[in-house]
Subunit: 201 residues, 2 copies
């Protein structure tokens, strides 16, 4: 069985990664969401082991010390980490994985020993980014201002990705994300055994 | 305006390239079919300038001498050639082009100065290839036998492409072809100006 593919989905906060991904998962099989560890408190509706592994500071430190995290970042006073074993096990089972991650974290794992397909989801403009952040009610005004500053920084990372999806139309953005995953699954380098089988019949 | 993308679609005769492409064209905009020149007689329903540019031997020779063909092959006593100006003009207008071509021709243009996305469409097995060729009524039994021999040779070319699409289910094959084209349009390297625009707003 071929190993799974690791898709790294990044982009500025407020680009709509979470909303788009939910729809992508409804359209594709054999795809898993990489569940991160975090010290942040759960938001309403978030489920342990599905959205995040919620950890205390002590537990997070322990994971770090044991080398259980591929990378970790601190953001707005909370820590987020990518759980190595979770990704490895899924890929080895032949499952494709989507890792939704901040641009800083994506940069850190870029040169690791995992082959990655890197996708950047972006709002269509700075104005759109501001609009998206204003629509969020989960944070304070100060947080939104800081997020906007960071968002502009993050947009500059786009050049460093394989694919860019502009989220000016959610339906189109979801179709493009599904297309990228579908296309990468058709790459010859990932289907060598299948080709061999066709030829041997 | 960004230049168009050249998609090269190849695979053994009988893989179903023509049927699949017709459906692909119904689902995508900004895509043109590369019309080849041929000395073969038109089949029923084929239209001059849409399916082929039908040429006499003399006309074909003249195109060759004038360097108007990117490549040409002889097959079953007929000649087929890729019309250079047709492709160049479409790409310069920002149109994406699909060049449906035999594996021998695809091999010839592989290293040319056109960036290409190479897609191989294949039946799911040798048995399926035989079945597909038998279902064709346009050629004699001898021709089908010769096509099968060639088809087996052609299948071996699959390793040399970017993408492979297995045509065991026409609907799925069409979806995969559409996905590959959609994904390639999202490549960062093809959207540098778009990224610049987002950042400058």
């Amino acid at each position: 069985m071929a190993k799974g593919i690791l898709f790294v989905l990044s982009g500025p906060s407020g680009a709509g990664k979470g909303t788009a991904l939910k729809k992508v998962f409804k359209k594709l099989d054999n795809l898993e969401y990489s569940v991160s560890a975090t010290t942040r408190k759960p938001r309403k509706g978030e489920i342990e082991g599905k959205n995040y592994f919620f950890k205390t500071d002590e537990e997070f430190n322990s994971m770090l010390q044991n080398g259980e995290l591929l990378e970790h970042v601190e953001k707005y006073g909370n820590r987020y980490g990518t759980v190595k074993s979770f990704i490895e096990e899924a890929l080895n089972k032949g499952k494709d994985i989507i890792l939704e991650i901040e641009t800083v974290g994506a940069e850190k794992i870029k040169n690791m020993d995992f082959e990655q397909v890197r996708i950047f989801l972006t709002p269509s403009s700075i104005a759109d980014l501001i609009y998206r952040l204003s629509a969020r009610n989960t944070e304070t005004e100060d947080w939104r201002a800081e997020r906007l500053r960071l968002g502009k920084e993050e947009l500059k990372c786009a050049y460093d990705y394989d694919y860019i999806v502009v989220n000016d139309d959610l339906h189109k953005a979801v179709e493009e994300l599904v297309a990228i995953i579908t296309a990468e699954r058709c790459r010859v380098k990932r289907n060598l055994q299948k080709i061999k089988n066709i030829l041997q019949e």
